[in-house]
Structure formats: structure tokens, C-alpha cells
């Protein structure tokens, strides 16, 4: 675990020293400024607009970082051969993968917390104070982070055996398909074709259910989110990440580094 930690810290350091990351944070801050501006011209619903825009910006920027940096996590190290000297050290391949995963999740967590602070600052600027119902925002942000963890795990898996471009396509396809898991579960009963029904049922369990993590509308309206959902989403994200990382480790453990 110490070795995975060393890889994670280095991955985090790389992201921090990467100017693309700074640009995205700058973009986030810009979004917050836009939220304040839109809030001022949206009479009576300033708070709703700011919360919705802010959460959406956190989600979209997080997704961009997760996908675009995630798909290069392993590929870049293989392509530039920085991995060669590392894997000759007493470090197991799965420890390396876990470290890369942890490093990007840490980066996203720091990034998300920074953007969340920006969102709260924007809210305080508009409302002059925070209310108890605003704490729901933290749950929404936590769910975004869980969703990003799933995306990083998928991007890392694809990064183990394909090029960044293909990995972006695969990860994006999984993400988009994962937004329609509930629809798949509904359609399996509507279709008369048993094969299609079986396929939809299988896919609905196989694909990550990203819609579970979308509580942005509830958070924007200050509606409470049940504790059971928080537990369920935490367990679901943890289990799904473990399974995807185990598959990635199995693929990468036999990969020849030419």
C-alpha cells in the first residue's frame, strides 16, 4: 500500500504541475462568475440557477479531467517508457494501477473541493448567508465525486489495453450508456423479443448506473436526500470500482511492455 501511495502522490503531483488542470480550474471559476451574473438577471430564482450551474460545472469539468487524464494514466507511462524503470522496482503491477487510480481520484477530490468552495462563495455572495438546506449541496458534490471515481476506473481499464483516443471513445460510450440504465430496465419488459429483453437486462446490470448519482435537481431545490441512498451509492461505487480495477489488474498483469 505504501508503494501504491507513492505512485498516487506522484500522479497527483503530475496533475498539479500540468497546466491543463489549472486551465480547467480557471474555467470553473469563470463558470462561478457566470452563475452570479445569470443569477442577477434571473429574478427570484438566483439561488436555483447558481446551484444548478455550479453543480453542472463541477460535474462537467470533473468528467473532462477524469476522462482526458484517466485514459492516459497507463498508456502515457507505457508510451513514454517511464514505466520501465518503475516496474523494475519491487512494485507489483496492481499496486501501480491502484496508485494511478488513487492519484487521479485525489486530484479530482481536491479539484472538486476547490470548485465547491467557489460555489458556496457564490451562494454567500448572492444570499449573504447559508441555510441548513444548502447542506444537500455537499451530498450532491459527494455523489459527483463517486461518479467521477467510476469514470476514472473505467478510463484506467481502457488505458491498459488501448490508445487514448479509443479509450476516450469507450469511456464516453460507457458513460452515456450508463445514463440510460433505468430506461433499459423499463424497456426490457416492454419489448416482445425475448433476446432483446435478455440483452437489455444484462446490460442494465453490467453498465454503471450513473443516473443514481444525479441528485443535482434535488440539491438545487434544497430537497433532502435519504441516508439510504447515500449508503447505497457509496457501496455501489466502491464495489463497481473494485470490480473494474480487478479486471484492469488482470489485463495489465500479463501485458508485455515492448
Amino acid at each position: 500500500m505504501k508503494r501504491a501511495g507513492a505512485v498516487a502522490l506522484n500522479t497527483f503531483r503530475e496533475a498539479v504541475r500540468d497546466r491543463v488542470l489549472y486551465n480547467l480550474v480557471f474555467f470553473a471559476l469563470l463558470m462561478m462568475a457566470a452563475a452570479i451574473f445569470v443569477g442577477q438577471i434571473s429574478i427570484g430564482i438566483e439561488e436555483l440557477v447558481i446551484k444548478s450551474l455550479g453543480l453542472s460545472a463541477i460535474s462537467v469539468i470533473g468528467l473532462l479531467i477524469a476522462v482526458f487524464i484517466g485514459v492516459g494514466l497507463v498508456y502515457k507511462e507505457m508510451d513514454k517508457r517511464t514505466l520501465y524503470a518503475l516496474l523494475a522496482k519491487p512494485v507489483r503491477r496492481w499496486e501501480f494501477l491502484l496508485g494511478k487510480f488513487g492519484g487521479l481520484v485525489l486530484t479530482l477530490a481536491v479539484n472538486t473541493v476547490a470548485m465547491a468552495a467557489g460555489l458556496l462563495a457564490a451562494l454567500v455572495y448572492v444570499k449573504q448567508h447559508l441555510e441548513r438546506t444548502d447542506t444537500v449541496l455537499f451530498v450532491a458534490i459527494y455523489f459527483i465525486l463517486l461518479k467521477l471515481m467510476l469514470v476514472v476506473a473505467l478510463a484506467l481499464l481502457f488505458s491498459c489495453f488501448s490508445t487514448p483516443l479509443l479509450a476516450i471513445l469507450y469511456t464516453s460510450a460507457f458513460y452515456v450508456a450508463g445514463l440510460f440504465v433505468e430506461e433499459m430496465r423499463t424497456f426490457q419488459f416492454a419489448t416482445p423479443n425475448p433476446a432483446a429483453s435478455w440483452l437489455l437486462r444484462g446490460l442494465s446490470y453490467l453498465l454503471p448506473n450513473f443516473e443514481n448519482f444525479n441528485v443535482m435537481a434535488a440539491a438545487a431545490h434544497g430537497r433532502e436526500i435519504p441516508g439510504a441512498l447515500i449508503l447505497q451509492n457509496t457501496a455501489y461505487a466502491a464495489l463497481y470500482c473494485i470490480i473494474v480495477l480487478l479486471i484492469a489488474a488482470a489485463v495489465f498483469s500479463r501485458r508485455n511492455l515492448k
Binding site: 517508457r81 520501465y84 519491487p90 508485455n256
Partner: protein, 325 residues
């Protein structure tokens, strides 16, 4: 020499290629060899011979299709084996957003060293490879030679018993090559086993206790550099001077036959004769007024041996191709 530190038994590696990777190209075929404890072993071969493949197999970057290997008695699949080895990849490249000191500290973390020990070793290694003043510069600003030095430093940072270097002299200027040679000799003095691949034969002749020559994925010979090419003298070379004024005299006319065989550069001549012809040739040259500068034995060099193997291999490949038609 206490015993084999690196033992390789029938190691074979195929690389798949083509659409769906259905075809296979054999990169290494049944390699069997040992590297003894405390020796400097040179792995020689042209590009694509299988040197890097062997080294990558040993350090676990790729996996064999057949055969086994062990280092210090531990199979290469054992992660514990990695504690005792240091590895310099060919044309090393490291995280360019880090400084040399940060890269070395990062690699040291995988060897369970304390922060104080890491810091001390990083400083010592940077000094050893001549980068103490560049330690705080990001690697993106480093030249190829400087990266090679960082690679060497990370390979020996944890005092490994076995050091495996893939083309350590590649891309270095003469001063850099000299420094790497000195480091290898120092590792040998410290009792470490060094395996390095190279196609710079003079380096191998200068540094190695033994060399292994690999061509076309097959090991073609193992032994001491002198032993492998045969110690038998191929003749004698006489280097002499014959000023232009004496070259046309009557005396030198008697040595005309011998002069015709010599290669001339300015006033100097280089003449190759058999051992039996040596004294007669010297007498003729002396009477012609030549000044003898040196007489040396001519032996086959590793390079000649190497070229002979490659040509034989090409001839065999051509013969197979013709018979195939």
C-alpha cells in the same frame, strides 16, 4: 566467482504481429546462459538481436513464452527479486515535470528507505553521476546524456547486488561514456554483478570479464572477450617511417617488394606479415633505411568475430530463402 547470479534456461520469446496478432515473430530462441557472481558480463549483438528482449524478460517487463530465469536464486516472477536488482532501460525517459532529485526520491520510496536515508542517497547519487548542480532542474530541460545519468543513478540508488544496464553508453559523448565506464568498474570493485548490453564493442572489450554474443535471437558464443575470438595471432604488424629522400635510393629499391605490400600514410608505412616473415622483413626495412616505430601482434578483434557471425547468419537466412523458393 562464487556461482551463477543470473541463470537463464531455454528462455524463448515470441512477439505477435499482423492483424489480430495471429502471426508470431521469434525474438529470442532457447537462450541458456549464466552470469557469475561479481562479474561484468557484456551482452553483445546488433540491433534487433534480442538483447533488450532478454533484459526486459529478466526485469519482468515482458513475459517468456518458454523457459525460466532466476536472479540470485529467485525466479524472475518473484517480486522480492526486484529488491536486489537495479535496471537502466534503453534510452531512459523519466517524468519530465520532476527534477532529478525528485525522480530519485520517488524511485527510492519503493525500497522502504527512511526519508533521511532517501535524502542522503539522492545527494550521493547525483554527485556520483555528475548532476549535483543540476539536481533541481526539471528533467524536461535535460539532454539525452543527462537523462542517461539520471537513469544510472536510479539503477544503483538502493545498492543493488545485480545491476542490469540496457545500452548504458548509448547517446553519450566520449566524456559521458568514460564516466559510465568508470561507474561500471566501480560497481565491479564493490563486488556487484553487472550485466549490460551494448553494440559498442570496444566498451565490451575494455570492461567485460565475459561476453555473450547474440544474433537473430540465438546465443552464438559466450566467453572472455579474448577467448571468444581465439587467442591465436593472425600475424605481425610493423609500423615504420621511410623519408621520401631514402624511399627512392638504391637500398630501398631492394625492399621494393615489401614496400608494395605496405599501406602508406604520409611518411609512415604499415605492413602486415606472418610471424615467420617478421625478422626477414625487419632486416630488409632496416637496410632500406626505414625507422621501425613499432611491431605488434595482430589478433582478431571482437568486432571481426561479431561481423563474421552476422555475415554467417545472413548467409544462412539467404540460403533458407533460396531453398524455400
Amino acid at each position: 566467482m562464487a556461482g551463477a547470479t543470473i541463470e537463464i534456461e531455454n528462455l524463448t520469446k515470441d512477439y505477435p504481429y499482423g492483424f489480430l496478432h495471429l502471426k508470431k515473430k521469434r525474438s529470442l530462441e532457447g537462450l541458456t546462459m549464466q552470469v557469475e557472481d561479481g562479474e561484468v558480463f557484456g551482452f553483445l549483438g546488433p540491433n534487433g538481436a534480442g538483447k533488450s528482449t532478454t533484459i526486459k524478460l529478466l526485469v519482468g517487463l515482458i513475459f517468456p513464452d518458454a523457459g525460466t530465469a532466476s536472479i540470485l536464486g529467485k525466479p524472475i516472477t518473484d517480486i522480492e527479486m526486484h529488491r536486489d536488482i537495479g535496471y537502466l532501460p534503453e534510452q531512459p525517459y523519466f517524468y519530465d515535470y520532476l527534477t532529478a532529485a525528485e525522480v530519485l526520491d520517488y524511485f527510492a520510496r519503493f525500497h522502504d528507505l527512511t526519508a533521511a536515508d532517501r535524502s542522503e542517497r539522492v545527494k550521493r547519487m547525483l554527485k556520483k553521476v555528475g548532476l549535483e548542480t543540476a539536481g533541481k532542474i526539471q528533467l524536461r530541460k535535460y539532454s539525452k546524456g543527462m537523462l542517461q545519468r539520471v537513469g544510472l543513478a536510479q539503477a544503483i540508488l538502493h545498492d543493488p547486488k545485480v545491476v542490469i544496464l540496457d545500452e548504458p553508453m548509448s547517446g553519450l559523448d566520449p566524456i559521458g561514456r568514460r564516466e559510465v565506464r568508470d561507474i561500471i568498474l566501480e560497481l565491479k570493485r564493490e563486488g556487484r554483478t553487472v550485466l549490460f548490453s551494448t553494440h559498442i564493442l570496444s566498451d565490451a572489450e575494455m570492461l567485460c570479464d565475459r561476453v555473450g554474443v547474440i544474433v537473430g535471437g540465438k546465443l552464438r558464443g559466450v566467453g572472455a572477450p579474448g577467448e571468444i575470438v581465439g587467442m591465436k595471432t593472425q600475424g605481425m604488424e610493423i609500423l615504420f617511417e621511410l623519408p621520401a629522400s631514402t624511399a627512392t635510393s638504391t637500398a630501398s629499391a631492394n625492399a621494393a617488394g615489401i614496400l608494395a605490400k605496405a599501406a602508406k600514410t604520409g611518411d609512415r608505412y604499415r605492413l602486415q606479415v606472418t610471424e615467420e616473415e617478421l625478422y626477414a622483413a625487419l632486416e630488409q626495412l632496416r637496410s632500406a633505411g626505414a625507422k621501425i616505430l613499432s611491431v605488434t601482434q595482430v589478433k582478431a578483434t571482437l568486432e571481426e568475430y561479431f561481423m563474421h557471425l552476422i555475415e554467417a547468419d545472413r548467409a544462412q537466412a539467404a540460403a533458407v530463402e533460396v531453398s524455400g523458393k
